[in-house]
Symmetry: C2
C-alpha cells in the first residue's frame, strides 16, 4: 500500500495521453481511459506480471479491455511499460495502417490479447482465457512446477454488462468456479444515450452474485487507491469463484464534462484539454508528455516481469527434463504445430463403408484423433448428443466440487449459450495452448455471429461444429433450417466454411481446420445419412474442391456440396439415361480453400466451354462465382421427414436434371463460354 506523487503522476500521464491522442485523431473515446486510469495503474503496476519484451510468454497475466472503445487506456499502458508501441504509434491513433486502431486488435498490436470493441466480447473472451489457464494448469502443473498460474483480468463497462453474450459467459464462469478470473466493472453510470438510468437500472452486483461470483464494491474509484488495491487482493484470494469488482468511477475524470455522456465518445475541446493538463500539473501547451519518473517506475516493473519470465524459463527447462513428455508437449503446443504424424489417425473410408450422417463422421474424427491432438478441447452448447461432439472417454471440464469432472477434462458443457461459447472459444484459442471446437446447430451459429466474426478478424483457430446443416434436418422445420447461414459466413473474410459430402471429405475438413493456425472453420454437417463416395479422398478434399466424377464429353459441370453431392451423382446418371446429356460432378466442400488453389487447378475443375450449375439446398447467393446457373433454396424450408422436404423442393435426381438440361440449352449459343473462374480483374485481399 501507499501511493505517492509518482503514482499520481503516472495516473495523470495515462489520462493526458488519452486526451492528446483522441484530440489529435479528432475521434475516439477519452472518457473511459480518464476514469479507469487509477485502476489500470494499480492493476498493472502492483498486481500483473508480464514481460513487455516478450508478449507471448505463456504464464503472463492476461488483461482484456472489454470496453474496447477505451483503448487509448491500453495503448498508453503498453507504451509506458515498454511494449512495442511507440510514441509515434500513439500519435497515429486511428490512422490508416497504425498499430493503434480505433478498437484493440490482437494481431496488430503487441500486448493486445484479444480483439475487443464489440461490447460483451472481451468479457466473454476473458472467461475463455481463464478456462484455458485452469485447464493448462491442471494438465501441466506438477509439484514444484507451477508453470501455469496466471490470472485473467478484465475491465468492462455498462455496455458490456448489458450485452447478452456477457450474461451468458458470466453464468458459465460462475458455474465453472473460475477463481483465476477478476473482472472490474467501470460503474460510471454513463452510456452513449446518457445516464444509464434510462435503460439499465438492474442490480448488477446482485445478478453476479446470482451467477455465483464473489462481488465487491469500491465506491470511489477516482481516489480510493488503497480500496482498489485491497479489492483486487481480496479477489485474488478467492479461489473458488470468479470475482467481480464494482468500481464506481467518474467518466472523463478531470474534464469539464466529467461524469457526462459528452466525454464518452468525443475528444475534449481544446480548452478542456488545456484545463485538464493544468489541473494535473502538466504544461497545457505540450502534448504527448511522459515524465521520466513515470517511465522509470513502469520500466522497473517491466524489468521485474522480464526477470520473472527468466525464472520461469529456467523452471520450464527443468520441467522438460523431469517431465519429458509433458514438457515436450507444452513446448510443441506453444509453436502452434500439431504432433508429427497426427494426421495418420484421420479416418479413411471406402465406398463399401456404410452411409452415416456427417455429424457422426465428425464424431469419428474426434474419436480417432483426440489422443494425438491433446490440445483439442471439444464441447457443445447443450446439444452433445445431437452434435456428436464428445468422444467416448472424454472427461468434462468441471470444477472438482461438482463431482462430474475436473479442470483437466477436455469436454466443455457450455449450456444453451451459443454466443458465449463462441466468444469463450476465442479466448481459449488466444491463450495459446488449446484448440477449441464447439457444437451447435448450424442455424444457431447465427446466434453467435458477433463472436464468430471476431474469430475471423482476430485469426483464432476455432472450430464450429455445426450440425443439422440444412432442410435435411427435417421435422424441426423452418425455425431450425439454415437458408442464409452459409452465404453469411462465406462472405466473412478469413473464415473457412466446410460442408463435406462424406467421410473422407470430413477428415479433410478437420485436417485443414487443425493445421490452419490463423483461420477459424465452420463444419456444416448433416443429420441425415450420406453414402461414402467413389473418388472422394482426403487429398482431394483438402483442395477445397475437386472433380469427383470426370467426363470428357460432358455437356455440363454440376458443382455441389455436402448432402447434395450424392444426389448430383444420381442426377448425372439420370441425365444420361433420360436427357442424353453428359455431366461432370465437382464436389466443393470449402470454397475458401478452393479459392486459394492455382487458377489452372480451378479451371480444371470448372472448365471453359460448358456451363456449370451449382446445387446446394440453401440460398444460392454467391454460387454465381462458381457456376453459370444455381439451384438452391431462396425461401424458408418446411417441417417434415427429410426426404419429403427434399422432394417438395425438387432436390432429387429428376429435379436437378431438369434444371441442368435447361442450363445446357440456355448456354448453347454463347461463344466463348467462359468458366466463372475467369475474371476481368483480381479482388483486393
Amino acid at each position: 500500500m501507499g501511493y505517492d506523487k509518482v503514482d499520481e503522476l503516472a495516473i495523470n500521464t495515462i489520462r493526458t495521453l488519452a486526451v492528446d491522442a483522441t484530440f489529435k485523431a479528432n475521434s475516439g473515446h477519452p472518457g473511459a481511459p480518464m476514469g479507469m486510469a487509477p485502476v489500470a495503474h494499480i492493476l498493472f503496476n502492483k498486481f500483473m506480471t508480464f514481460n513487455p519484451k516478450n508478449p507471448d510468454w505463456l504464464n503472463r497475466d492476461r488483461f482484456v479491455l472489454s470496453n474496447g472503445h477505451g483503448c487509448m487506456l491500453q495503448y498508453a499502458i503498453l507504451h509506458l511499460f515498454g511494449y512495442g508501441v511507440s510514441m509515434e504509434d500513439l500519435k497515429a491513433f486511428r490512422q490508416v495502417d497504425s498499430i493503434c486502431p480505433g478498437h484493440p486488435e490482437a494481431h496488430d498490436t503487441p500486448g493486445i490479447e484479444v480483439t475487443t470493441g464489440p461490447l460483451g466480447q472481451g468479457f466473454s473472451n476473458a472467461v475463455g482465457l481463464a478456462v484455458a489457464q485452469a485447464h493448462t494448469g491442471a494438465v501441466f502443473n506438477k509439484p514444484g512446477f507451477d508453470l501455469c498460474t496466471n490470472y485473467t483480468y478484465c475491465f468492462f463497462g455498462d455496455g458490456c454488462a448489458m450485452e447478452g453474450v456477457a450474461s451468458e459467459a458470466a453464468s458459465a464462469a460462475g458455474h465453472l468456479q473460475l477463481g483465476n478470473l477478476i473482472c472490474i466493472w467501470d460503474d460510471n453510470h454513463i452510456s452513449i444515450d446518457g445516464d444509464t438510468k434510462c435503460a439499465f437500472t438492474e442490480d448488477v452486483s446482485k445478478r453476479f452474485e446470482a451467477y455465483g461470483w464473489h462481488v465487491q464494491h469500491v465506491k470511489d474509484g477516482d481516489h480510493d487507491y488503497e480500496g482498489i488495491e485491497a479489492a483486487i487482493k481480496k479477489a485474488q484470494e478467492v479461489k473458488d469463484k470468479p470475482s467481480m469488482i464494482q468500481l464506481t468511477t467518474t467518466i472523463g475524470f478531470g474534464s469539464k464534462l466529467q461524469g457526462t455522456g459528452g466525454v464518452h465518445g468525443n475528444p475534449l475541446k481544446e480548452d478542456d484539454c488545456k484545463q485538464v493538463k493544468e489541473k494535473f500539473g502538466f504544461d497545457p501547451n505540450k502534448s504527448f508528455v511522459v515524465p521520466q519518473e513515470v517511465y522509470d517506475m513502469y520500466h522497473k516493473h517491466a524489468s521485474e516481469g522480464a526477470a520473472a519470465e527468466q525464472e520461469w524459463n529456467q523452471l520450464f527447462e527443468k520441467y522438460q527434463s523431469e517431465h519429458k513428455e509433458l514438457g515436450a508437449d507444452l513446448k510443441r503446443r506453444l509453436t502452434g504445430k500439431l504432433q508429427e504424424g497426427w494426421q495418420n489417425k484421420l479416418p479413411v473410408y471406402k465406398t463399401s463403408d456404410k452411409a452415416v450422417g456427417s455429424r457422426k463422421l465428425s464424431e469419428a474424427v474426434l474419436e480417432a484423433i483426440h489422443d494425438v491432438v491433446p490440445e483439442l478441447i471439444s464441447g457443445s452448447a447443450d446439444l452433445t448428443g445431437s452434435n456428436n461432439t464428445r468422444w467416448k472417454s472424454a472427461v468434462d471440464f468441471q470444477p472438482k466440487s461438482t463431482g462430474i469432472g475436473e479442470y483437466s477434462g477436455r469436454y466443455m458443457r457450455y449450456g444453451v449459450r451459443e454466443h458465449a461459447m463462441a466468444a469463450m472459444m476465442n479466448g481459449m484459442s488466444a491463450y495459446g495452448t488449446i484448440i477449441p471446437a464447439g457444437g451447435t446447430f448450424l442455424n444457431f451459429v447465427s446466434y453467435a455471429a458477433g463472436a464468430v466474426r471476431l474469430s475471423s478478424l482476430s485469426h483464432q483457430r476455432v472450430i464450429y461444429i455445426a450440425t443439422h446443416d440444412s432442410i435435411g434436418l427435417g421435422e424441426d422445420g423452418p425455425t431450425h433450417q439454415p437458408i442464409e447461414t452459409l452465404a453469411h459466413f462465406r462472405a466473412l473474410p478469413n473464415m473457412m466454411v466446410w460442408r463435406p459430402a462424406d467421410g473422407n471429405e470430413t477428415s479433410a475438413a478437420y485436417y485443414v481446420a487443425l493445421t490452419s493456425q490463423n483461420t477459424p472453420s465452420i463444419m456444416a454437417l448433416t443429420r441425415q445419412n450420406l453414402p461414402q463416395l467413389e473418388g472422394s479422398t482426403i487429398e482431394h478434399g483438402i483442395k477445397g474442391g475437386y472433380v469427383l466424377l470426370e467426363n470428357k464429353d460432358a455437356n455440363i459441370t454440376l458443382v455441389s456440396t455436402g448432402s447434395e453431392v450424392a444426389i448430383c451423382l444420381e442426377a448425372a446418371k439420370y441425365l444420361k439415361e433420360n436427357n442424353n446429356l453428359q455431366a461432370r460432378v465437382v464436389s466443393m466442400p470449402c470454397v475458401e480453400v478452393f479459392d486459394a488453389q492455382s487458377k489452372d487447378y480451378r479451371l480444371s475443375c470448372i472448365p471453359d466451354g460448358i456451363p456449370a450449375m451449382s446445387v446446394e439446398v440453401m440460398s444460392t447467393l454467391g454460387w454465381e462465382k462458381y457456376s453459370h446457373e444455381q439451384f438452391g433454396l431462396n425461401r424458408f424450408g418446411a417441417s417434415g421427414p427429410y426426404l419429403d422436404v427434399y422432394k417438395k423442393f425438387e432436390f432429387t435426381p429428376e429435379g436437378i436434371a431438369k434444371r441442368a438440361a435447361a442450363t445446357v440449352d440456355f448456354y448453347k449459343d454463347v461463344k466463348p463460354l467462359r468458366s466463372p473462374i475467369n475474371r476481368a480483374f483480381l479482388q483486393l485481399i
Copy 2:
C-alpha cells in the same frame, strides 16, 4: 379454486395428445407438454380471455411458448379450445405442409402469436408484446373505456433462461416495470445435455429479482394446482413489476422416463405410451382421444371469451363515437394500413440540397412522418445520437415513476441490447398496433441475427435502422466495419435490405418499408455525407433499382448502392475523359424489391450486350446476380479517416474506372453477351 376430475382429465388429455402426436410423427418433444400440462390448463381455463373464433381480437390475452419445441402443448390447447386446429392437423404434426410444424410458426397456425423454437426468442417477444400493450393502453384507454388491458403470459424453459437474448430482455422488462407480463419458468432441471447441474447452476430467481422482477416459486408444479393458481393471481396483482414464477415440474410427467433427458426430445416408446395412458385412465389401445367433458369444459371457456369479445366490440363501437379520432386511428391500425396521404410528408430533395449522411436523411424522414404515422415507435440500442433515430419532440417510453417518460411515449431506450431489441420489436409488431423501428450500427445487427431471422420468417413489419454501414464509418475500424453483413441479410428470405444513395432514395426506402405489411427491412445508412443525386426520385427508388445515368452508347453498366453511387457517377466522367469509355449507372438501393419488378424492367436497367460491374464497399458475394464483374471488399477494413480508408481500397473514381475498363476489355469477344438478369430457369419461391 377447487379442481375436480374433469380438470385432471383435461390435463391428462393434453399429455396424451402430446404423447400420441410425437409418437405418430416419430419425432418431437413430449417432455415439456407432459410437465407443463397442469399450468397450461390452469392458465388458459382460469385466467386467459380469448376467442378462438377470432384469434385476432385486439384485447385477447397473449400467450407465448418460448420453449417452442414443446409446441404439442400449444397445438393441443388450441385444438381443445376450438381454434382452427383440427384433430387431423394434430395427426399431421411435423409433416410437410401441416399447420402443426415442428416449432410454432405465427403465420401458419391460428392462435400462435409469435414464431418460437430458437431459444430465448419467445421470452423476448413476450416482453415486446407487453410493451405494445402498455403503449396501446396508454394511448387509447380512456375513463370508462378500458380497451386494451390484456396480459401477456409466457412459458419458458431452462434453455431460454440460459440464452443471452432473454437475459437482455428480462433486464429491459424489469427496468420498464411491465406489470402486465407474467412469465413462468418450467424449472425441470433437464436440458438436452441432461441434468442442468452440468452447466446451469446459477440462482435464476435471484437473477430475476436483480432485474427488478417480482418472483415466486411453486415447488410442486405437477400437483399443486391451487398453488399455481394462487401464484398467477398474485402475479396479476403486482402492477409495477413483471412477474416470474419458478414452477418446479417433472419433465415427461407420467412417462417411465419422467424426470430424465430421455423424455425431452424423443417420442415415448410404444409400451411407455400405453403405460402413460393406463396411468391416466385412458384406453392404452386408442390414440388421439379427447373425452367429451374436456371439450365441453374448454368450449364453455371459449364461449365466455367470445362473449367478452362481443362486449368489447360494443365498447369499441361506443368509443368510436365518443373518441372519434382515436377510435378511427385504432380501427385503421388494426387493418395494418397507414393513414391516407401520409406519404406526402416524405421529404423530397433537389440536387441543390446539401450533402448529408443517410443516417440524417433517415432522421429527417422520422421527423417528417412521425405525426402522420402514429403507430411508429422508434428507438435505439444505446446509440440514439449516432443512429439519429429520435425525432425532436419524441417522448421516451418509460414507466412514469422514472420521471423521464411515460408509456404513451414513442421512443424506446433498449440499452446496449441489440438482440433483445430485435426480438422485442418482433413482439411489438405482432401485437398489431405498432410498427417498431430500432437502431444500431449495421455491424451489430449481426448480434441480433437470431431475432432478425424471425422477423423475416414470421412476416413482421419491423425496421432496422442500421447506421455506420461500411468502412465509411472510418476511425472505429474493422471491429465495427461491416463486410459480410449485407450478403448475410440479402441471403435471408423475406427481408428487404435497403442501402439508399441519397435523400430521395431514403424516403423511398421508408415508403416501401412502411407499406410492406409482411416484410421487415434493414436500412443500411451512412455516417458520412452523401450528395443529392440528379435523377434520383422516390418513384425511382421504390422500384429497388433504376437507371440513374442513362447513356445509349454505353460500353458498361455500373451497378452500385448507397455511398458508392455518387463515386460511380464520378467514375463515369473519369472513364469518358481518360478511357474514352461510356458508362451507364444503375442505383440499386434494394435488390429484393428490384427482383420483384418485371423482367422487362430489370433488363432495361441491366441490359444485354454490354457488361455490368457492381460497386459496393463490402463483400461482393451475391453481386454476380446483377453484374458480370464485381468490385468490392472481400477482406476486413481499416481504422482511419474515411476518405483515407476509401483511398486505401481504391474506392475512388480512378479505382472504379480502372476495373470498369478491364471489364469492358474482358467481355468484348463474348457473343451474345447476356445480362445476368437472364436465367436458364426460375428459382422456387
